[in-house]
Structures are given as structure tokens and as C-alpha cells.
Symmetry: C2
Subunit: 347 residues, 2 copies
């Protein structure tokens, strides 16, 4: 590969072989009619020069930038690394780049950053909407990753089924009083997870749900969740909707002298990267982000490229998963060290 100061373009190759730029373009894209030997020569010098088509010219001509936007409600979300990595990887495989945008938790900002992405010419947008947000109709295809109970959702983890896994696990361990710990009752994701849990808690097993934000509104942020009292009431399993809350519950229990998992079990959700970095390592529910990202990106790119091929006008708005893909990706249970059968106290 030559190392020129400026990147080679079609006309350089054309001049070198004394052919027209159109022929070079045809040869490299395989679209027009070019003799095999000439096409070979062209491909050879192209790779010799290290030619890659300039995105600017192509975008101008074709109207497509091969860039997707990724919109997150809050980029500081600890789940973000997994998501960004998976989306970037899936997009790269499909030949797309990923432009990030952060709405910083602000609802108004969410539409603003989407507009900024569109102004930059992205071909489509992957969005993890902020709680309770309706995505207004923008002029481009959108893939929504949230929860199957969100209208317009494209794909998401099967939070309900994940909740079922948690409940089944704890019940099968022999727990008979399970405390479900949610954060915000307005979250579709959390409601799905909790709904799934409840659906698999048999009648003979007691359960109760508490919401952290409500507790904190009544007291102060970072207040005690009162788990020691719940433990004394007989709860031996504490099922949270997020690893973050599981860690909080875990440290609160340990701080009260309640051992985990001997006296009490704790479960999380999401399998954040650090969830296995401490002792006892968290039992949690893992989501298959690569699969979710692939479905979202496939749906998006097919909508985009379908459009371009298209007799039909562009299809803006939320996209559906491809026929052979599902909207809900199963979650898996990761049993580590915070769950065990309850110690049988003398009856």
C-alpha cells in the first residue's frame, strides 16, 4: 500500500490506467459492464493504492451516510458500555459507523439530540428512550430498545422472562418469603421484570414489593431500605431489579450482620461488568446485548436499504424486527454467590 499524504480517489486510479472514472467505479462496485481483465487490473491498483471510497462523495451522491445515531437517556448509565459496545459492533459488521448522543436525562433534550443527529445525516437512529417518552415521528427509521410493553418497541431483552427466572430460582432454593425491590414504578422495564417474578411465585410463597424512590422521597436519598426489619419479618430472599440495587441491598444486609448467602439471598439484574468483581459475587440475570443489538441494527439497516432500493417512499418511524428475528431476547440466569437455600432456623 502506497502511503501518500492525501487519500487516493477514483480519478487517480483512472489516470493511472488511462481509463475513465466511471469504469473504475463500475469495476469496484461490480455494477456496470467491465471486462474481467480490466476489472482485475483496476482492483489490483486500487488495493495497491489503498483506495477506499470517500464517504463524502458517496453520501452526497447516494444520500446515505452509512452512519447510525445512538441515543441514550443518560450516557452515564452503568449499562451503557455493554450497549454501546454491542451496537457499535453490530453496526460495524453491517458497514455502519455509530454517532453517539446523550440526552442527559432531559426529555426535551432527547428530541433535540435526535435532530442534531439527523442534521449530521445519519441514516437511522437506535434509541433507548427515557422512561415515559414517546418518540415523535422523525423523518428516519428508528429502532427502539426498551421493553416489549413499550409501544413502538423494536426489540428488547425479555425482562418478564428474566423475572420468571429469578423467581423460579429463589423458589426452587426453598425461599418462602421474597422481598421484591424496585426503584421506580413508572419504568416499563422494571414493571416487566417484577411482573415476571410475581407470575412465578406460587401462592404458598409470600412476596412484597418496595420501591426505592418512594422510600427515598419519604426519607432521604441513600436512606436505609429497612432490610433488617424485613429480615426479622421472615424475608430471606431479596430480589432487586438491578445490580446497582442488589449491591445496595447486599451491603445493607452485611452491615446489619446478616450473612449472604447463608442467612439471606440477594439477586440483581443486568450482570454489570463489576457484578462479579467482589465477594460474594452477585447472582444476577444476564442480557444478551449482542443479540439485541444485532436485531435492532438488522431491522434498521434493512429499513434503510429497503428504502434506497425503493419504489416505496422512505419508511420513517419505529421499525419492526426482521421476520426471522424476535422482539424479545431471552435472558439467562447467572448463579454466583449471593443466592443459596435459606438456613432453616429452628421452627
Amino acid at each position: 500500500m502506497h502511503s501518500n499524504r492525501t487519500r487516493p480517489n477514483l480519478s487517480q486510479i483512472a489516470a493511472l490506467l488511462d481509463v475513465s472514472v466511471a469504469t473504475v467505479s463500475n469495476a469496484l462496485s461490480g455494477k456496470g459492464r467491465v471486462s474481467n481483465e480490466l476489472a482485475d487490473k483496476i482492483r489490483a491498483t486500487a488495493s495497491d493504492l489503498g483506495y477506499v471510497p470517500g464517504t463524502a462523495g458517496r453520501a452526497l451522491r447516494t444520500g446515505r451516510s452509512y452512519v447510525l445515531g445512538l441515543v441514550l437517556p443518560d450516557i452515564a448509565n452503568p449499562l451503557f458500555p455493554q450497549i454501546a459496545q454491542a451496537i457499535e459492533h453490530a453496526a460495524a459488521k453491517a458497514g455502519y459507523g455509530v454517532l453517539i448522543a446523550d440526552s442527559r436525562g432531559d426529555v426535551a433534550m432527547q428530541t433535540e439530540v435526535i435532530n442534531r443527529l439527523l442534521e449530521r445525516g445519519v441514516d437511522g437512529v437506535v434509541i433507548l428512550p427515557r422512561r415515559g417518552t414517546r418518540i415523535s415521528d422523525i423523518g428516519s427509521p428508528i429502532a427502539v430498545i426498551d421493553s416489549s410493553s413499550t409501544p413502538g418497541n423494536t426489540v428488547s431483552a425479555d425482562h418478564w422472562q428474566g423475572g420468571q427466572l429469578v423467581a423460579e430460582h429463589l423458589v426452587s432454593l426453598g425461599h418462602s418469603k421474597i422481598l421484591i425491590i424496585g426503584n421506580n414504578p413508572d419504568s416499563n422495564v422494571q414493571n416487566d421484570r417484577i411482573g415476571g417474578m410475581k407470575s412465578r411465585i406460587p401462592a404458598k410463597v409470600q412476596s412484597e414489593t418496595i420501591w426505592i424512590e418512594r422510600l427515598e422521597a419519604a426519607a432521604h436519598v441513600g436512606c436505609s431500605l429497612g432490610l433488617d426489619r424485613k429480615f426479622k419479618e421472615g424475608f430471606t430472599a431479596f430480589a432487586t431489579v438491578s445490580d446497582l440495587h442488589a449491591l445496595r441491598a447486599l451491603t445493607e444486609l452485611l452491615g446489619c450482620g446478616i450473612t449472604v448467602p447463608e442467612q439471606a439471598s440477594v439477586t440483581g439484574f443486568d450482570d454489570l461488568t463489576w457484578s462479579s468483581a467482589f465477594r460474594p459475587a452477585l447472582t444476577t440475570i444476564h442480557m444478551d446485548m449482542p443479540a439485541i443489538a444485532k436485531i435492532a441494527v438488522d431491522a434498521l439497516t434493512s429499513a434503510i436499504e429497503g428504502n434506497a432500493a425503493g419504489d416505496t417512499p422512505p419508511t420513517p418511524g419505529p421499525v419492526r424486527p426482521l421476520p426471522d428475528a424476535c422482539e424479545s431476547v431471552p435472558m439467562t440466569l447467572v448463579v454466583r454467590q449471593t443466592s443459596a437455600p435459606p438456613r432453616l432456623t429452628a421452627a
Copy 2:
């Protein structure tokens, strides 16, 4: 703002006002010679149509895309959200978008993803290099964020000074045996942090350094760090180089029945988002990512735009901070609940 199906362009505005596209362009950019009243009319209809210059045409003509690349050694790094958010914000303020790339910890991949970004036409690259990587000379300006002891570093947190803060804090609390817990002795960042700590540990205070990766190589991943033995040896303070390791140390101590902060203090580094989400909340060192990002982006954009203005040929390779900016951004101590004076055991 009209809501057309296709985005307005210069010629639409020109046709509407019966002027040439050049005049419209001049009026909007304020460069050519246009009468005030015509310029006003043009600006009015432009904003009425919701015109924003298309990036493709502009990029093609000017050779600049107003997009920066952000390269991370491992996007799954828990520090990534803060970094990405800060860079994205700083870039957006400067009128640039941010394209992400993830080298997935692979050194060879690092140069590959940089090339992919360049092929996409980014104007510059912000990179957090993988340990021990030399950034080969690419044809574009690069801002390197690592540590001041890294050659070619553009800007970074003052890890050394952060280490000093930790040591001063622990020493002032009265600790006289401090265990420093590092992960990988090849990391410039970790060495800086530990060097800073040692530089502020007076002779009368004992200290010792252990490396997690070495311990794990000798035993197994996730093995005990042997902190209970260290505690019995008299160590009362455990200073780690990362919140991740602090959490590990904290849970190991708690699991051994050693109370924090009453019997032992633990400190982290980086102030990860979840560091305050559990009890006892971590005492840690916070880095001013927004400031770092601003310096990096400013240096990058000024190199880019200096080039364009330029008589001089483009300045590829690592950029320096602007004259009024510094290379090392001070870190701050965040005292929470894991640090306190050591309990005086009966002598």
C-alpha cells in the same frame, strides 16, 4: 418551520427568493458581499424552512466532516460512560459529532479501528490508548488521554497528585500502616497514582504494595487478596487504584468480619457512578472529566481548524494542549464513608 419530506437545501432557498445559490451561501456564512436587507430576507426564509447545511456537500467541498473519532481500549470499561459523555458534550459544543470505536482490548485492532474512523472521514481522533501502546503516525491530529508519563500524551488527570491526596488523607487520619493495592504494574496510570501516594507517605508510616494480577496469576482469578492477614499484620488502610478494586477489598474485609471504616479504611479511584450507591459509600478520588475533555477537544479542533486556515500542511500526530490549558487536570478527594481514623487497639 415547514415540515417537508426532504430537507431544504440552498437551491430551494435561492429559487424561492429568485437569487443565486452563491448569494444564499454567502448570506448565511457572512463571507461574500451581500446587502443587509437581502441577507436578512435570506436568513429569514432559511430559518423558516428549517435549513441546516447538509454535511455531505460541505464535507465534500471543504474536506472537513466536523466529526471526531473516539477510540477506547475497551468500551466495556466502567469508566467509559463518564468519558464518552464528557467528550461528546465538549465536541458538541465545538460543533463536532463523535463517532465511537472500540478496540476490544486488542492492540492490533486499535490501529484497525483508527483506520476505519479515518476512512469514514473523521477530522481528528481522541484516543485512550491501551496499556503500552504507541500510537503510530496516522494522517490526522490525535488527542491522547492517558497519563502525563505517557509519551505523546495530550491531557490527563493528574494521577500523581490524586495519589498524593489519598496518602495525605489517610496519613492525616492517623493511619500508620498503609497497604497499596494495584492491579497491573505496567499501567502508567496506576504507577502514577501509586507513585503519588508513596511521595506523600512520611518515613514513620509503613507502606507496602501488592499487585492483584500477580496474586491472581499465582492463584486464580477472583482469589482472596489476603487482606485479613494484612489486617492482622497491622495494616489499617487499604488504598486501591480503582473503585473496582476498592469494592473488592471492601467486601473481602466485611466478609472477614472486619468493619469499615471503624477497623479499616478503604479508598478507591475514579468515582465511578455506583461508588456512592452502597453502604458504606466509597471514599475515592474524583476526576474532572469535563475539563479533560474540553482541553482535549479544544486542542484537537484548533489543530484541525488551524490546518484548514492553513498555509502550513496538516499537522498529523499527537496534539498539545492549547497555551492557556494544562496537561494535568487536578483530581479531587471525595470523602465518604469508607475512611476514618483507625480505632486505637489497646497498645
